[in-house]
Symmetry: C2
Subunit: 341 residues, 2 copies
C-alpha cells in the first residue's frame, strides 16, 4: 500500500522529506511516495530505501494561489500531482500535505470526491491535547466551512465519532457541541438547531460544552461550525504560547528564578511538548473517499511521521468504510430553522 | 456621587462587602451603596465609614431565575433594588454586580435603558491581558447577544473605541474584527458584512484578527459576535488554567523540579496573577444610560475594588456621553446581507 506525501507548498519542504524517510523506516510494509522538487528531495534523501518512491515535479502551490483554481492552473504542482496519484492508484490509501488548506480541501473534494451524495460537507478536524495525558480531543469543524447549516454539524458528529473510535479505539466517543452554556437552550440559532438534530443521532451525545472545558478530557469530539472551531483552536494555540512566553519572561527577569529553572527544564519541556501541535499534526479531512491529512504549514519531521502513523491506523481500522456506513445509515433530519440545501 | 454594589447572587457575597470597604477607603469622595442581606453585610462590616450606605434586602436573584422575569418576580432582590436605586438617583453613577449575567443585562436594559434609539444592542465587554505588560484588550461582544447582525457589530466598534479611549487614555484605539484569517474576504457572511461596515466608520480599524493574535497587544478592541466572543474569552481562560495545571503536575512529579520551583515561585505567581481575571474584572455593559459593570460570579475583594476604580474613571472621563455622541453622530449603513431590524 502507498502513502503519498506532498512535500512542497509549506515552510520546510526538506523537513517533510526527512519525515518521509523516518516514516518509510517505521512502516516497511508501506511505500512512501514523495511528491516534490528534485532539489528539495536530493538535499535530504540520497536513496537506499526500497519503500520510498520519488515523483519529481516542477511546481508548487502557494498561499497566493486561488484554491479553486489550482487544479486547472497548476496541474504540475506537487499538490495536484499528489492528489492525482492518490486517485488513480487503488493501492494508494492516503495523503499528507502541509500546503495551503484551501487548495488541499479543494483537491480532496474535487479530485478524490465526497464519500456519498448524502454527505453535505466534508470536514477538517483538529486534534488537541487534554488534561488527561495521552488523551486527545477532536474538533470538527476546525475551520473548513463557514456558515455551516445545522445538518452539516450533525454529520460532523457522526464522522467525528467514527474517526475517534477507529483511530484511537474509543468505544463510545463522547460528543459535545460547542456553545456558550451547557443548557440545551443556550447558544445561537444554528447551535440550538444542531443540538436538536444531534440529540436524535446514534452517537454518544453528552450535550453542550463551553470553550473553557474543551480541554477537560471529558469530550472526545467537539462539534462546531467552522468559524467558532477556528476561533477555539487558534485561541488555545495562542494562549498556550502566551502563557509559556510570559513565564519565560518572568523567569529571565530574576536571577533566582533562572537558577531554579535549571532544575525544572525537563518539566517545562514536557509541557511545551504536550502543547506542541507537531505531535498531533495532520488534521484529518473527513468525508472524502481516501484518507487526507492536512498538516500544519510549519510541519517538521515529527508532523509527517505522526501523520503517516495515523494514516496507517485509519487504514487498518477502516475509517473510510466506517464513515461511509455511518453517513449512509443515518438520516439527519433537516433543521427547521434552515431550508437551504 | 454614589456607586451601587449588589453584593448578593454570587459565590462570595462577603468578599463583595469586603471589596466595598476597600473601595470606600480608596475613594473618599464617592459613596459606596451596599445592597445586600443584613447578615451578609454584618459579617464583614461593622460601621465606621461615613461614605458607606447600606440598603438591606431580603431576597437575591439566583442563576435558576429566568432573567427576563426577575424584575416582576423578585422586586425585592438585591439586584432589582440596586438597579432601581441607580435609576432613581441622579447622583448614582454606576453599579457593580456579580450576579446572573442575564439578569444583570435585563435590569440594565429595562430599568436603566438604552442610550439612544439608534443603538441596536448594548454589549458586554471583557478585558483580557496581552503580551505587553499592563496593556489590556477589550472583547466586544464577550457573549451577550447571539445571532448579532453586522450592524450591531459595527456599533460595538464605536462603543469599544470610546470605552478604551476614555478608560485607558488610548488616543486611537486599534479595532480588530475577529475572523478566521486576516484577509478581508475571510470569514463567515456576518463577519464579512461587518468588515465592510466597520471599514467606513470613524474608528481606527486595523482589519481582521485571528484568535491566535488576540492577546498580541496589537489590538485595543476586538469586535465579534457574542457566540465567537464567548468562545474566545472562555478558551483563553481555560487554556491558561490548563497550561498552569500541566506545569504544576510536571513540577510535582519531579524532585529536582520541585526544588527548582522554590526559586521560581515569584515568577510563577506573577504569571498566575497576570492571568487572574479578578484583576481585570467588571466587564462593562456598554450602551445603557449609566455605568454598569458585570463582575465574575466568583468575584473577590479585588474584583470589586477594580470595578469601582473603573466606574470612577469611566465617570470622570465621561464614557456615557462619549458613547451617546459616538452612536448619534455615526450612521451605520445596513448590511446588505441582512434585512432584519
Amino acid at each position: 500500500m502507498k502513502i503519498i506525501v506532498d512535500v512542497e507548498g509549506c515552510d520546510y519542504p526538506e523537513k517533510m522529506v526527512g519525515g518521509c524517510i523516518d516514516s518509510a523506516k517505521a512502516h516497511p510494509d508501506y511505500t512512501i511516495v514523495i511528491v516534490g522538487r528534485k532539489e528539495t528531495v536530493n538535499k535530504v534523501y540520497s536513496g537506499g530505501l526500497n519503500n520510498i518512491e520519488i515523483v519529481e515535479v516542477e511546481d508548487a502551490v502557494t498561499n497566493d494561489d486561488v484554491p479553486t483554481r489550482v487544479i486547472r492552473q497548476k496541474p504540475d504542482s506537487s499538490l495536484v500531482r499528489a492528489f492525482t496519484i492518490l486517485k488513480e492508484n487503488d493501492d494508494a490509501i492516503g495523503i499528507v500535505s502541509a500546503g495551503s488548506t484551501g487548495a488541499v480541501l479543494t483537491c480532496a473534494t474535487l479530485i478524490i470526491g465526497r464519500i456519498s451524495k448524502s454527505l453535505h460537507r466534508p470536514v477538517v478536524t483538529s486534534l488537541m491535547p487534554t488534561k488527561i495525558d495521552g488523551k486527545l480531543v477532536c474538533i470538527a469543524d476546525a475551520g473548513s466551512t463557514m456558515d455551516a447549516l445545522p445538518e452539516y454539524m450533525a454529520q460532523y458528529a457522526i464522522m467525528g465519532s467514527v474517526y475517534m473510535r477507529a483511530s484511537f479505539g474509543i468505544e463510545k466517543p463522547r460528543v459535545g457541541l460547542l456553545s456558550v452554556g451547557t443548557e440545551e437552550k443556550k447558544g445561537d440559532e444554528r447551535t440550538k438547531a444542531a443540538h436538536a438534530l444531534i440529540k436524535e443521532l446514534p452517537v454518544n451525545f453528552v450535550g453542550n460544552v463551553e470553550a473553557r472545558e474543551a480541554l477537560s478530557g471529558d469530550y472526545d469530539v467537539i462539534v462546531t461550525d467552522g468559524f467558532a472551531g477556528n476561533v477555539l483552536t487558534k485561541a488555545v494555540e495562542g494562549t498556550a504560547k502566551f502563557v509559556m512566553t510570559k513565564l519565560k519572561e518572568a523567569i529571565m527577569g530574576s536571577a533566582s528564578a533562572k537558577f531554579g529553572y535549571l532544575f525544572m527544564k525537563k518539566a517545562f519541556n514536557s509541557v511545551r511538548s504536550a502543547m506542541d501541535y507537531h505531535r498531533y499534526d495532520g488534521g484529518a479531512f473527513l468525508g472524502v473517499n481516501k484518507i487526507v491529512l492536512k498538516s500544519h504549514g510549519s510541519s517538521n519531521e515529527m508532523s509527517v511521521r505522526v501523520s503517516v502513523d495515523r494514516i496507517v491506523s485509519m487504514y487498518e481500522n477502516k475509517v473510510i468504510d466506517g464513515i461511509r456506513e455511518g453517513i449512509a445509515s443515518t438520516v439527519v433530519k433537516s433543521a427547521e430553522t434552515n431550508e437551504e440545501e
